[in-house]
């Protein structure tokens, strides 16, 4: 079911770039995501005229514009439901959603758990710079406690949202975190996410060099731990996944510097992965039962007969 349209031969990754010059700041973490996506598309032999991307509003949401693929740059927070529409109409188009932490977890929060729960075959790549950059530095739901944004210059009085735990709890069937400063890990993770049949969520720690002077490339250097390779975590183990996920934000807290399991480091890797029937597969089953074969017209006389007096 639901075979993606693929090419016979691989295209080099650069063929997945459009000729539009990105408007991102030099040194933006999101460039790493572009590279990883083009690599994944190349490896998967996706046809550029078959890929459909969606995004919301924000610096990272501009990503589809730099890609040689179909895309919809929607309204703030609405990338996921637009992607759902694409899935309903044309399940054979690989559907990738790219947006930021504010877009998906603030205004877009109403859509995230439902799309995950329904297990639509969508790959969601969130570029998490832990703030709002395009509107010039405000806190987002993933901002550190104490982070100074323009609307709370005294420091953020909230605690951040644990999106990894939330994603697993929402029923996402592939949950991972990666880092745009580690091209290999990012490319591998995104490819795995795209290959996964179901709702894949990759949270990419992606520094904003212009405004966020705390969660920088320099900060992340040496502060990441690979939960699969280094801790031997088995992503099929839900219990272990939730346990690890509960500690994802420990490194925000200096008092937890030596605490298990991450000892002051930030986790990257695949937390949870399970195979489960997708929403599109369930629709296909219904259509199998009722829809006319080969796209022929149904028996309209039969349909109309039900309304005769």
């Amino acid at each position: 079911m639901m075979e993606y349209i693929k090419l016979e031969e691989k295209l080099p990754p650069k063929e997945y770039r459009s000729d539009i010059e990105p408007t991102w700041c030099p040194g933006c973490g999101d460039f790493g995501v572009v590279t990883a996506l083009t690599k994944a598309f190349s490896e998967e032999k996706f046809d550029p005229t078959a890929i459909t991307m969606t995004s919301g509003i924000g610096c990272s949401s501009r990503l589809p514009l730099w890609m040689n693929a179909f895309g919809i740059h929607t309204a703030h927070g609405r990338a996921l439901p637009a992607a759902v529409g694409v899935r309903l109409a044309k399940p054979e188009t690989p559907t990738i959603v790219t947006a930021g932490d504010g877009d998906i977890f603030s205004i877009g929060m109403e859509h995230f758990p439902h799309t995950a729960r329904k297990n639509f075959n969508i790959t969601l790549v969130v570029m998490d710079n832990r703030m709002y950059a395009l509107t010039k530095n405000q806190t987002s739901p993933t901002s550190r406690h104490g982070y100074k944004g323009s609307l709370n210059p005294y420091g953020n009085i909230e605690d951040p949202f644990n999106t990894i735990k939330f994603a697993i709890a929402s029923g996402a069937t592939f949950v991972a975190q990666s880092y745009s400063g580690n091209p290999k890990h990012l490319a591998d993770t995104i490819q795995a996410a795209v290959e996964h049949k179901g709702f894949s969520f990759v949270n990419v720690l992606s520094p904003c060099p212009t405004f966020n002077k705390i969660d920088t490339f320099k900060y992340y250097k040496g502060r990441l731990i690979d939960i699969n390779k280094e801790l031997g975590h088995d992503p099929s183990d839900m219990k272990a996944a939730l346990e690890l996920a509960s500690h994802v934000l420990d490194a925000d807290n200096p008092e937890l510097e030596d605490a298990e399991p991450f000892k002051g480091k930030r986790p990257i890797g695949i937390f949870y992965k399970v195979e489960k029937e997708t929403f599109e597969e369930r629709i296909a089953k219904l259509k199998e039962k009722f829809a006319p074969k080969d796209g022929k017209e149904p028996d309209w006389d039969e349909i109309l007969s039900k309304y005769r007096p």
Binding site: I5, S18, I20, D47, P48, T49, A50, I51, T52, M53, T54, P64, L65, M67, N68, A69, F70, G71, I72, H73, T74, A75, R78, P81, A82, A83, V84, G85, V86, R87, L88, A89, K90, E92, T93, E110, H111, H114, I283, L286, K287, K289, F290, A291, P292, G295, E297, P298, W300, I303, L304, Y307, R308, P309
Partner: protein, 600 residues
């Protein structure tokens, strides 16, 4: 005089009042009569006041009419609510003299000239039939017997409806029919003049409710993705579409909210599918930002707004037509939308198809306004010619890989500036040259662009698409001039839209029979405002009456805003009580205005 009879069943929800109306409607239709039914459900899930009013005639029925000829009151509440409408010449059939929960003022009614018959429907159902649930069948049988409906027709309907439940159920209902008929034969002396004439040649019709017609129309138009969120009174559009759409290869998707529905149909339209949602006022408000997006990205989508009384939560099951401002102008900035409104159930069907055609042709959101009362109105309409409809469907101009020569590609752009503003469409998996549709202002190739020159060009292009909508869609303007000659002055002009238009049409018809000359226009195209037609109408009379079920009178104000019609000619007639107009009100208003004119 044409045959024109209205029977109203009223009582408590759960007692089969609505079914009684449905059965009667189908029976009348099978006798070859034109039928229109109006029903109202209680706001509660259990109990509450319910009614079903069936109007039958040998001529085309325009509206609900002013009231009823026959009232079948199942309980005291039904009697109390309808007492003011029991005028001279009407008939009251009430649940009595024993077994019911009330007693009408029989003397008072008979003195007024009302014909009163007591039929103990509860008692008969409980004691003679042994099943209280057959109360409505007893009531119907008695009604049919009193007014000359062939009883076989009722029995046929019962067989059709209940044979699936088994012979026992059918026989129980037949017992109820017999009991009701026999009671009338043995106890009642007919003193009223009403009688259903013999059967007419049977017509090739189907019976649809307003929202059902929308669903069927959408299916005929080829809708593939219907995404919606439950909201009264629009939910049933999806309910009716759900079983049909699977047969036509599409899907009804319940999303998490209205914003999500609108986003989903933008995504599905982008992917090439005909897409639609149905909502009411509060949902329309939530969708505004995304309707703007559909407009800016030039994606065809159909949004049905089954209006209810507002503002805010308002009165969810009550009639109002106050969403026109929101439908046409509710987005921020200057976007392009087309707003249309059907006036009866037949138009609910055909205008839904039209909505798809318009959205595909002009590549923008089309909003169709109906209302709660129209959504529940049922009509027998001539069976549509689906083949003909399919042959005339309009599809967006998709650029296909196999049809484009490589050298042509360089000059093909998604938002190409053209003379009529309409650009070629690129769709994933089908077209070459992928692009990202964006809500940002953009250049021809869709890349974001904010230079003053390019912005101006692109804005002009989008508005150019709809500049000639009126001229190009004359079939969306319904003229009702009677025998008014070219250049002749009418006593008054009238403009009405939505359900109000069919009610107005009846009032106009009656006034013409009394010798008045009236120029009426029932626009199905509400926005862009059909300026030419309205100005032409204005030249035919000194006054233009605009009846609307809204406090502000949205279309009257659109006439003032968007046309050169002299403002002093416009007379607004606004009601906002949560009920539709009745023809008598509009008739009286016109007489008041025309009368004033002749006295001056």
């Amino acid at each position: 005089m044409a045959f024109d009879l209205t029977i109203k069943y009223a009582g408590e929800g759960g007692e089969g009042v609505i079914s009684a109306g449905d059965f009667t409607m189908r029976a009348a239709s099978n006798l070859g009569y034109e039928v229109v039914t109006f029903k109202s459900f209680p706001a509660e899930i259990k109990g509450g006041y319910a009614l079903s009013q069936v109007r039958m005639s040998d001529e085309k029925i325009l509206s609900q009419g002013d009231g009823f000829n026959i009232l079948v009151a199942f309980n005291g509440e039904a009697y109390e609510v309808n007492k003011p409408l029991l005028k001279k010449g009407t008939v009251l059939i009430w649940d009595g003299p024993e077994g019911g929960d009330f007693e009408p003022d029989i003397e008072e009614l008979e003195a007024k000239g009302v014909f009163v018959y007591a039929v103990p429907m509860s008692k008969i159902a409980k004691e003679d039939v042994g099943a209280y649930i057959t109360k409505n069948v007893v009531a119907m049988a008695a009604t049919f017997e009193l007014f000359g409906f062939p009883i076989e027709v009722l029995k046929e309907e019962i067989t059709k409806k209940f044979s699936k439940k088994g012979e026992d159920v059918v026989n129980l209902n037949f017992k109820a029919v017999e009991a009701g008929v026999n009671y009338v034969k043995e106890n009642i002396k007919k003193i009223d003049p009403y009688k259903v004439p013999g059967p007419l040649p049977k017509k090739d019709v189907i019976i649809l409710e307003g929202n059902e017609a929308i669903a069927l129309g959408a299916a005929a138009a080829g809708v593939q993705v219907f995404a919606a969120y439950p909201i009264t009174p629009a939910t049933t559009v999806g309910n009716y579409l759900s079983p049909i759409i699977l047969k036509t290869g599409g899907f009804v998707y319940q999303s998490e909210d209205e914003i999500s529905s609108m986003a989903a149909i933008i995504g599905s339209s982008f992917a090439g599918a005909k897409s639609m949602t149905a909502t009411s006022g509060p949902g329309l408000s939530l969708m505004q930002e995304l309707i703007d997006l559909a407009s800016m990205t030039e994606l065809p989508v159909v949004v049905v707004d089954v209006q209810r009384a507002g503002p805010s939560t308002g009165m969810p099951t009550k009639h109002e037509q106050a969403d026109l401002f929101a439908a046409a102008l509710g987005g921020h900035g200057d976007d392009q939308r087309v707003v249309i409104a059907p006036k009866n159930v037949e138009e609910n069907f055909y205008l839904t198809i039209e909505a798809f055609n318009l959205s595909e042709k002009y590549q923008l959101p089309v909003i169709m306004l109906t209302d709660g009362s129209l959504s529940l109105r049922a009509e027998a309409i001539p069976t549509p010619d689906i083949k003909k409809i399919k042959e005339n469907l309009i599809e967006r101009p998709v650029v296909r890989k196999e049809e484009v020569k490589p050298e042509e590609l360089d000059n093909l752009f998604r938002y190409a500036i053209t003379e009529n503003g309409i650009s070629p469409v690129f769709v994933p998996t089908v077209s070459p040259k992928p692009y990202t549709a964006t809500g940002l202002e953009h250049a021809e190739n869709s890349r974001p662009r904010t230079t003053p020159k390019e912005r101006t060009i692109m804005m002009d292009k989008r508005f150019r698409k709809i500049a000639n909508i009126e001229q190009e869609n004359q079939h969306l303007l319904e003229w009702d001039l009677g025998d008014l000659q070219e250049g002749e002055k009418a006593d008054i002009a009238v403009v009405a839209w939505g359900l109000t238009a069919s009610i107005t049409q009846e009032a106009v018809k009656r006034l013409r029979e009394k010798g008045y000359k009236i120029a009426a226009l029932y626009p199905k195209l509400l926005y862009p405002v059909p300026k030419n037609a309205l100005e032409k109408l204005a030249s035919m009379a000194d006054q233009i009456l605009v009846p609307e079920a809204s406090y502000l009178g949205h279309f009257a104000r659109f006439i003032k805003m968007f046309t050169n019609v002299p403002q002093e000619k416009i007379v607004q007639y606004n009601i906002y009580r949560g009920e539709p107009f009745i023809p008598a009100e509009i008739e009286e208003k016109i007489l008041e205005l025309v009368g004033q004119k002749t006295n001056a």
